[in-house]
Amino acid sequence: MIEVLYFAWLRERIGLPRETVQTSAATARDLIAELCEKDARYGLAFADISAVRVALDQTLSDFDAPLAGVREIAFFPPMTGG
């Protein structure tokens, strides 16, 4: 079980800011594949993964990092702070 958060246009395309997901996905990439099977909205949101960033437990990470022990995963576009 993992908390999944979405921000900016990912949140808008998926239609919710967060959800709890029952998964045994090994990586973020695997989790995205699972989500995309669930509903077309995910396919739209994750169509171009090069435009998506991922954070594991609030730390910027990559799509192939292991999810073991991770409580919160967040997907968002490249940041535009400052």
Binding site: F7, A8, Q58, E72, F76, P77, G81, G82
Partner: protein, 145 residues
Amino acid sequence: MLRIQEAAFDLGAEANAFDATGAGAVVTFSGIVRDNGGLLIGMQIEHYPAMTEKAIAAMMDQARARWDLVNVLVIHRHGYLPVGAPIMMVATAALHRVAAFEAAEFLMDYLKSRAPFWKQEITATGATWVQAKPQDEAALRRWGK
């Protein structure tokens, strides 16, 4: 000192409250909502609260490790900001000007591309997510990242 807030702040008051005792050089940077040729009415800034403080505190630690800073401040706002409103500010105090300038630029380059904020430009006809610029990502290379 780090503050993430929705409320406006006063650049002058923050600059004067910033403790630079013993420093010879103080640099401030402040970002303001531009009107983009009269099209914009404001900006909406979304953020990832649990990550924001953690990410920016890590940047500030990096800056302190890299330059001999007397003090460092970051304020960043979120929520709705009208044109002309202050978005964020950075202040650095050091013995010499080069350290103060470099640390402020380092923090700005990191805040642009590594702090979890997403800006949306609000016009009369709608809202558009600001695209990250390739040159902002490229700017990080100066710092060996």
